[in-house]
């Protein structure tokens, strides 16, 4: 699947396009098919996201998994600070990155 990600303009938070808005949870990411470029342009111009880009991802039974390790780190947080990840209770999240 193709998903869109970027950072929130004001807060810098990593966000994912859900089909109607932006979420901090990668599992909310929607497949944008061929409409990526169009949505990117519109959302960036409206300042609802900053520096957005299109990535490849895969829908697995555990949720959405970006193809590149960089985006998996973005989805979870720094692997060396499990306490600061989006889901500190779940130590397995870090294995998911690698």
């Amino acid at each position: 699947m193709k998903v869109l990600t970027g950072n929130d303009l004001k807060t810098g938070d990593v966000t994912w396009w859900t089909g109607t808005s932006w979420s901090r949870d990668v599992n909310d990411a929607a497949d944008v098919g061929e409409r990526g470029a169009e949505i990117l342009a519109r959302e960036e111009a409206a300042r609802r996201v900053n520096v957005p880009y299109l990535i490849e991802a895969e829908r697995t039974e555990n949720g959405v998994r970006p193809a590149h390790i960089k985006d998996r780190v973005r989805a979870v947080g720094p692997t060396v600070r499990p306490d600061l990840t989006l889901n500190p209770q779940n130590p397995e999240a870090l294995d998911w990155v690698i």
Partner: protein, 542 residues
Amino acid sequence: MYKYDNYDQQMVDARVEEFRDQARRRLEGKLTEDQFKPLRLMNGLYLQLHAYMLRVAIPYGTLNGEQMTALANIADKYDRGYGHFTTRQNLQYNWIKLEDAADILADLAKVEMHAIQTSGNCIRNISSDHFAGAAQDELVDPRPYAELLRQWSSFHPEFTYLPRKFKICVIASEKDRAAMRLHDIGIQIVQQDGEIGARFFVGGGMGRTPMIAPMIRDFVPLDQLITYAEACLRVYNRYGRRDNKYKARIKILVHELGKDEYTRQVEEEFAHMLDQGVEPPREELERLKPFFADPTFEDGAKTVDRSDPDFALWVDRNTHRHKNDAYVSAVISLKPVAGIPGDATGDQMRVMANLAQQYSFDELRIMHTQNVVLPHVKIADLHALWTQLDAADLGAPNMDTIEDMIACPGLDYCALANARSIPLAQRISEKFDASGKTEKLGELKLKISGCINACGHHHAGHIGILGVDKKGVENYQLSLGGSEAEDVSLAKITGPGFTEDGVIEAVETVTDVYLAQKQGEERFLDTYRRIGMAPFKEALYD
């Protein structure tokens, strides 16, 4: 330490307001990201993997307790309770909001700090010797010259849109503790026929094409220092390459023109500029010097009680000879075993600030090795200092050992990274600490970068590790034989890269080769230089 006068304060305050206005225009949509990016970068604000990142300048690495406390408070109030000290003697916060950025800059300005020109294609924060003003071997304190350069380079009207970033370093001893020759301009303050002047090295740098700066002038009189720097920059601004970001640093210009031709052009520009009145009045340097005058040192014990072996080890490892023999400079390690190199929590910053006030005439320094120095500690106070450091997990006795490695933020934080650096650093320090080998290896500088940009100085490591991307999997190249010191050299790659586990093994292997081949007091680097790459390669790949 330097104190701002009204002018300096006004400049920094004006910059905060300018940035507040720029951020407002960005949030209102009057600036596009393309237009805003260079402006926010010029105020140290990056967009990184997880959020905005703010890089705060610590001019020539010197700060006082109040400033360190302000950094701690910012970490707690606007970030997530910590900061990262960098090889550029700066501090980075990783979780900043754009809407808070101007307020943070205002908080910094209250304690005479800023994030001006900590990024962008401009003259960056001036770096210097972390033992400046304390080291026994220095000619003079280099910081008045660094401050003169700081003012000249701040908001320079001609040099704000250079081809690429520009880093200047000033030292004043034969020993190089600041990687001087790996800067765009390295300045060594020297003495010739009784006169003090500046020796200019131009065109060094790391990144994807590391180069050691050649000397282009062995003596510039002090009342022409700024003019000479201005000439070096103008030639670069006019002729540095702008067609290719990777060839835009001054090292490429100097390399392509040749050192002699670059020098000729600088000398010509310099001759022209001498009549242009760009040099600040000579009295300015004289005004700056007293700010860096010695504190009032007292007599005291010249040795410590070594009955506690842990303390004795820390003293041996982490203190540096001071020009007054009742004092030392004490290094606070930000490399606890298995810790994150260079990270400090807000609480740790406050501990360091208090200790500086208590034991070091209210002064701290940031080292390019991502540690902190208390420059003037009475030998008689060392035990009390160490006890408090140890309690705050700041007492690791490992300066210049393999555990004192440099590691850039890598893929855990950095958008440009290929691979993670920090987990490697953690695992290596844990391994060598557990096996007790650290002590046997003595001085061994290990430096890790997460990509070819070389923020972690891997080219200058006795052992260097570079993260590369091998079809989406983290992979690491090993190199040997680099040095950033006065015996400067660039490391050479051993051969094919390794996995994360593999490179940790490989580090172990090359240290075993060293221990087997070592003669007398040789350091790892000395042995490598004597026996060459072959024995290491053989052990690694055969």
